[in-house]
């Protein structure tokens, strides 16, 4: 120690460099934007997930999850994608088709989904599932969410969140009764035809605003009566033509007929 204070030890420079690198590294790790976070599942959870994956998913996605002609690679899709796809019943896909539909399924419980998510997340870093705070609609601003929804979501999902058609048999699903977690994960991961809305496009706070808006539109029933599914002017016009015009034609026939 004496040597260090009085005269530089030959190793001092190396030590100083090491300390400097260590500090820079830790500061960077602490401050750098976390684009993608790997789920920190325990080794046993990952192992459970691997077994579930191999028996349920590997036919299409490959034993190493690197994809086959029947299914895309899952390396880097993250835990959020697994939680969304399996949690909404879209995966495992029940039948081939233009799009995997959302179905109610009891196939996996949340622990099993988490295990598969942990396994897929362990392959490569990807978006993880949102925290409870990130999807707490009561903390979101539904007004701002509505503005964001109309610019980013309404063209496909309709301003009422009723969904709509895409090309060649694909469609944007309705958002009624979708769990906030799944709405968040869908924006984060861009499942199927849907584009990705990463945190630089729509920040986590803004995602929460959108969730607040979607919930608001569902909780507050319309005062206008039967909404006919909220699909817009086409079904409403069709209803008016078939029933309204039909009634008027019937009334005209009755008016012009001769009484007995």
């Amino acid at each position: 120690m004496k040597a260090l204070t009085s005269r530089r030890h030959p190793a001092a420079l190396v030590l100083l460099l090491l300390i400097g690198l260590l500090i820079t590294g830790s500061v960077y790790a602490a401050l750098a934007p976390k684009q993608a976070t790997a789920a920190n599942g325990s080794a046993s959870q990952i192992e459970d997930g691997r077994k579930l994956f191999e028996s349920n998913c590997s036919t299409c996605h490959g034993v190493q999850a690197t994809g086959t002609p029947d299914g895309p690679s899952l390396v880097g899709v993250g835990a959020a994608a697994v939680d969304f796809q399996v949690g909404t019943g879209r995966m495992p896909m029940v039948a081939p088709g233009p799009q995997a539909p959302r179905i109610k399924t009891e196939m996996f419980d949340q622990d099993q989904i988490d295990a598969m998510a942990a396994y897929v997340a362990s392959l490569a870093p990807g978006p993880s599932s949102p925290t409870a705070d990130q999807i707490d609609a009561s903390k979101g601003d539904a007004g701002k969410g509505g503005e964001l929804f109309r610019v980013n979501c309404a063209m496909c999902h309709s301003s009422a969140g009723a969904g709509g058609a895409l090309t060649r048999g694909k469609y944007a699903p309705g958002l009624k009764n979708v769990e906030p977690k799944h709405i968040y994960e869908a924006m984060q991961t861009g499942p199927q035809s849907m584009p990705v809305f990463n945190d630089n496009n729509i920040t986590p706070d803004e995602k929460r605003d959108i969730i607040a808006y979607v919930q608001q539109t569902q909780e507050h029933a319309s005062t206008g009566g039967q909404s006919l599914g909220g699909y817009g002017p086409v079904p409403e016009g069709m209803f008016a033509w078939i029933f309204g015009m039909g009634l008027m034609v019937a009334a005209a026939v009755w008016a012009a007929s001769r009484a007995n």
């Binding site: 496909c156 035809s193 584009p195 029933a221 005062t223 007929s257 009484a259 007995n260």
Partner: protein, 376 residues
């Protein structure tokens, strides 16, 4: 009538079971030809009385039905008033076949419908059952006035013109003509003036060419692409593959006036594709070259009738217009691959500035949106 092409007068029976059956090409019977001088008026069919005309009980029943319809109307009107005065706007209830809806709105609508429908149906039923059922003929008459009256009117008019001396005094005649001609101008000028200023180059330029200064002049300043509605600039690294950003030129969202007019022309959709996904042809190469590292920007205004083309499928790279299903292929410079649109979406050439933010490299090189008369 049919002097040429006279068919045979002979009827040739064919077949064995039915003696009257004839061959179509030989079976015509040559008649006398021509029509009678005039069709005789067949007159009205014989009048048959209605049940209500002959049966007093049926008439009574019809009377009660009519009164019942009028009573329905009265009930409807009362329902309307009850709905108007007793329920608050926020009161909601569940109704069968309708679901949860505002009680007052339902009562107002249903009440007014019954109020009008009851009167209409009642009157119709009344005329069908109880009002006179005899068919009557009302002859048409000559409508003109008598010759004397017409001559008298013409005479009055001629005398009036003479009395005004207008033909003898040309000064009055021409000054009146001038006055009447000019007085129409104030009305015409107002009408034409209210049609608004001439569009000038409004349809050719957008806010990407610069925002208009006091004189309406636009100067291109390579604006940054900012997120709509958050008004945040976008770094190229923020746009991950498969992303869609809805953007406006920087400064537009800070405007106080004419924001929507400007937005209507300058809305742009930014997507990032894997650079290898672009088609290997001139269109695909142009699309990639006008972008930055796979990030491309296209006008969001459909070239058909101007709906916002926002439905991007990240798997097929198709952009779909929700109004008439025009489909544009982003990998081929937004070529129309389906639907009524005739032209591809205009591409906005983009690049990055020193800080890594996306900026427009040049304004739109063609008018955005639907075709218009003078467009090439």
């Amino acid at each position: 009538m049919n002097e040429q092409n006279q068919p045979s007068a002979e009827v040739v029976p064919t077949g064995t079971s039915d003696a009257d059956a004839v061959r179509l090409d030989q079976g015509h019977i040559h008649g006398e030809g021509g029509y009678p001088e005039a069709f005789e008026n067949p007159g009205l069919p014989p009048h048959t009385p209605r049940l209500t005309d002959i049966d007093e009980a049926a008439a009574k029943r019809a009377e009660r039905q009519i009164a019942g319809l009028f009573t329905l109307s009265i009930i409807g009107s009362i329902l309307f008033l009850v709905g108007y005065f007793t329920f608050g706007v926020d009161a909601r209830n569940w109704f069968p076949g309708v679901g949860v809806m505002s009680t007052t709105h339902l009562l107002l609508g249903a009440g007014l419908a019954l109020g009008l429908l009851g009167i209409g149906l009642g009157v119709l039923h009344w005329s069908r059952t109880l009002m006179p059922g005899e068919e009557i003929v009302e002859s048409r008459h000559h409508l003109a006035s008598s010759d004397e009256q017409r001559a008298e009117l013409a005479d009055t008019f001629v005398k009036g013109v003479e009395g005004s001396q207008i033909n003898r005094r040309p000064l009055i005649k021409y000054s009146l003509g001038g006055a009447l001609g000019l007085v129409s101008l104030p009305i015409l000028v107002q009408l034409v003036g209210s049609l608004g200023p001439l569009p000038k180059d409004d349809l050719y330029v957008s806010a990407w060419s610069g925002l208009p200064d006091e004189n309406g002049k636009r100067t291109f300043s390579a604006p940054r692409l900012v997120l709509d509605p958050e008004n945040r600039p976008i770094k190229a690294s923020d746009v991950t593959i498969g992303s869609v950003f809805h953007v406006q030129p920087e400064g537009l969202l800070d405007l106080h006036d004419h924001v929507l007019e400007e937005k209507g022309k300058s809305s742009v959709i930014v997507m990032r594709l894997d650079p290898g996904d672009f088609a290997d042809n001139d269109l695909g190469r142009k699309a990639r070259d006008w972008g930055h590292d796979g990030i491309v920007a296209y006008s969001k205004i459909c070239t058909h009738v101007g709906c916002p083309v926002g439905l991007y499928e990240q798997t097929t790279h198709h952009l779909l217009c929700p109004c008439h299903q025009s489909t544009f292929d982003v990998t081929q410079d937004c070529k129309v691959i389906f639907g009524p649109a005739k032209r591809p979406l205009p591409q906005l050439k983009i690049t990055v500035d020193d800080e890594g933010y996306l900026i427009a490299a040049q304004p739109f090189m063609e008018p955005v949106g639907p075709s218009f008369w003078e467009r090439d």
